[in-house]
């Protein structure tokens, strides 16, 4: 880790800070508009389209892309793959922030933030899929907070409390996997209620399975993607252990993601066959479906496999980018593009610029918090007073330098 030179004078007016400041300012103004004037003042939502991009992007994509937390901690603590230990804290932090922002963004849609606990404590509706999703997200956010808290407690110096929470790691991981399995699939199950509204190519009674399986690939790919960006911008905060294990983590996750994506591809095709939807493939929607299935599922699966065989880290990163984009595309297709497909184009939904601005605002808030936490807390390095993990001995091929860079 490098230490900053005190002689260099810091300025707040960096390009990053200026752009972030502008986005936060615009976001704050729209937030005031939303909570004082209502949904109609800032969104293009209507009775036909009550769920817009705040649900499609902030919630559906947010939850899927935050799946790196449970996949990484399960790999390390449940399956005992300790060589991925250094990836756990960044993955848990990404997941925690992801879920926290999902709940934060949900306030914009639902309104009246003080009523958020009502579905659980005042008027619970346990027969609703949405209730199950809400309860799981609520519980999982707490689990992620506890899983993340040791790094904050190490930073603050609360040793005893930190040691107590660290002892709960395995239990929290198992609880997290159970909750994730439930709500990742239930997000797909939400759309089972609308078979007449969702295009047959995307509607399937196996939607919960599709959502769950794709979330695993999304989580693995997000860990690779986030690791790549962190390597570029937070390299000075990484210790020897993290750096020496990074290539092994990337290739190991690529291998897993490749197999999961291949499985996802095959079950999607079997889903087509079970509903006998082959004839739709020759329509416009069919071509779009093929773009998603071949370009953003089959292609990254193949890219990942090729990169694992060739030990090509550059290719792994392209696979990760394609997979992440593919998951975003899939969630948008299910919740927007193929939803209400019977409606005339004039009645279809297109987001207002303020909806897009709020989504950008939410992502920016996450980015700023991520930067603050990784700068101050032991995320990419082990705190010197709490060193537990020794770097796993790597084989010669894993230690071999890789000329390719992203």
């Amino acid at each position: 880790m490098s230490h900053e030179n005190p002689a260099v004078k810091k300025t707040w007016f960096t390009p990053f800070n200026m752009v972030v400041g502008f986005i936060l300012l615009v976001g704050a103004v729209i937030t005031i508009l939303r909570f004082t004037k209502g949904l109609g003042a800032v969104t293009n939502l209507d009775d036909n389209n009550p769920w817009g991009i705040w649900i499609s992007f902030d919630l559906l994509c947010g939850v899927a892309l935050a799946a790196g937390g449970y996949t990484t901690s399960a790999a390390c603590y449940v399956f005992g793959l300790k060589r991925y230990h250094s990836a756990v804290r960044p993955a848990i932090l990404t997941a925690f922030l992801g879920y926290a922002l999902v709940v934060f963004a949900l306030h914009y849609d639902v309104g009246r933030p003080w009523r958020l606990p009502y579905p659980f404590f005042v008027q619970s509706g346990p027969t609703s899929v949405l209730f199950e999703v809400g309860l799981c997200v609520f519980l999982y956010l707490n689990v992620l907070f506890l899983e993340w808290s040791p790094s904050a407690l190490e930073w603050l110096g609360y040793k005893k409390l930190r040691n107590v929470i660290v002892k709960l790691t395995l239990g929290l991981t198992i609880f997290g996997v159970i909750l994730s399995t439930m709500h990742q699939s239930s997000l797909g199950a939400l759309y089972l209620i609308a078979p007449s509204k969702l295009h047959p190519l995307w509607y399937s009674s196996y939607l919960p399975v599709f959502f769950f399986v794709s979330s695993i690939a999304a989580g693995l790919s997000m860990v690779i993607f986030e690791g790549t960006l962190s390597h570029r911008y937070m390299h000075h905060k990484m210790d020897e252990t993290y750096l020496s294990e990074h290539d092994g983590v990337t290739l190991g996750f690529a291998k897993a993601a490749s197999l999961v994506l291949a499985g996802y591809f095959f079950i999607k095709v079997v889903g087509l066959a079970l509903d006998n939807n082959w004839h739709y493939l020759l329509t416009g929607y069919g071509l779009w479906y093929l773009v998603e299935l071949l370009g953003f599922v089959a292609l990254p699966a193949f890219l990942y496999a090729m990169s694992v065989r060739e030990q090509n880290l550059k290719l792994v990163r392209w696979g990760a980018v394609l997979t992440v984009l593919g998951i975003v595309l899939n969630r948008f297709n299910v919740s927007q593009v193929a939803f209400n497909w019977h409606l005339p184009s004039a009645a279809r939904y297109f987001p207002s610029w303020m909806e897009v601005a709020i989504s950008i605002f939410v992502v920016t808030v996450g980015l700023v918090i991520f930067r603050f936490i990784t700068t101050n807390m032991p995320i990419f390095y082990e705190h010197p007073e709490f060193k537990e993990h020794e770097p796993v001995e790597l084989t010669e091929h894993e230690l071999k330098p890789h000329p390719q860079s992203f």
Binding site: S258, A262, N276, W278, H279, R309
Partner: protein, 47 residues
């Protein structure tokens, strides 16, 4: 794919038949994919 289904049984017979064939293909496809994915693992171990 112009298939006329007169009763639900016809539909189930056709679609399940197709799905079973595809499931067989899936098993073989995944096996092939696994062999491709791990094809060079032994070489790496020897190195």
């Amino acid at each position: 794919m112009e298939n006329t289904f007169h009763v639900l049984h016809d539909f189930m017979l056709f679609t399940k038949g197709a799905a079973y064939y595809l499931m067989g293909a899936t098993v073989l496809g995944l096996l092939g994919f696994w062999l491709y994915l791990t094809g060079r693992d032994e070489e790496k171990m020897i190195k």
